[in-house]
Subunit: 214 residues, 2 copies
């Protein structure tokens, strides 16, 4: 664990906001801003200042009353809290358009995530690599996972192979899932951590908000 | 507006949970379950029963104390609240892997969203259609938007053309944005509705949760 922050019990909503703060601090840093108050951050992010202070205080603070936060110091602390400097190995299942888009669209390295291998389900591609990530047939999953022991699996497959593959991965001691299958995986294992990306929920929410405006 | 529910002031978090309930009710219906209590839904979704009742009550209820909810009736009411039967026209900007994955991965029709056209930025594809959606060069954006008047734009492009295109679309009276640019658009127009899909926040949240387990 090195110099990482100790483990603290916080809700996923707090962690999600910490990620948002980190992204915002990066933008501030790019704009050459070195100090920011919780009130200014709150205005820019559509949150309340007390919410931000409360979130940050749950990890120990990092600001001084009346002086605001040092952008660099706060950013580096949030990076350390979120563990981006610790390497996390991942495998990606599914190299259709979605899997390919994830590899090419997301800067995994920036977040300490390294995609060890990607797995092709039923001949989705004839490429042997995408952006440097080696592609293997799904038959090689078990042996590969046993040898590289990833902590995270990214499921970019339809629900049906998805649930089965998740079950298999749990058996192989992979407990972290980034779930793009559009269904709940119903893993029911207390050691598993699942982050669902339900794009349909997001679309429906937008749909509703547009309807309210027109 | 037909028989749609009247406009009600609710927070995006409530709407997001309504989408989650809808998805869950669809699964229940597929499993042949016709009645469910808020407590059972709560257990299955990892929420509290009072949260669910409170959300549903903000739109008028739909259940009877002690009898639970009719799955079919509740589902149909939530669909109506979310407006999935009202047609919403959309344009998709960017037909790289991400845009292509969205077209092929998401059942837009099910949510009442129809992608009128997709726009290619700088020769991303030589296809003239993806899954039936006609692809036009980005130069045709202005004229096409003026004539088809979409309510939603899906931005599957990098930040830099993204912000500029959003600004252009606002001028053309498009106010709903599904934002996959990975940055805040800073639109600053009170009529605009932006639903950000920050995949990096999601990845970081999972990253943290995995770290807490190991």
């Amino acid at each position: 664990m090195g110099t990482d922050a100790p483990k603290i019990q916080v809700s996923t909503s707090v962690v999600r906001r910490m990620s948002k703060y980190l992204r915002h601090l990066e933008e501030l840093e790019n704009d050459g801003i070195s100090r920011i108050s919780s009130q200014m951050m709150a205005n820019q992010l559509g949150l309340t200042a007390s919410q931000i202070r409360q979130d940050l205080n749950s990890f120990g603070g990092f600001g001084q009353q009346g002086y605001g936060y040092s952008v660099e110091y706060l950013k580096s602390n949030i990076e350390s809290i979120l563990g981006v400097h610790r390497k996390c190995h991942a495998v990606l299942i599914g190299v259709g358009d979605l899997g390919r888009a994830l590899i090419q669209h997301i800067d995994f390295g920036k977040y300490g995530v390294s995609i060890a291998y990607a797995f092709d389900i039923g001949g989705q591609t004839s490429d042997s690599r995408i952006d440097g990530v080696e592609i293997l047939p799904i038959d090689a999953l078990e042996q590969t996972v046993r040898s590289c022991q990833p902590q995270m699996a990214i499921l970019a497959v339809p629900p049906e192979p998805g649930r089965e593959i998740a079950k298999k991965l749990i058996e192989l001691q992979v407990f972290g899932f980034w779930n793009f299958t559009n269904v709940d995986l119903h893993i029911g294992n207390p050691d598993a951590v699942v982050e669902d990306v339900h794009l349909a929920d997001s679309l429906l929410t937008l749909r509703f908000m547009i309807g309210q405006k027109t």
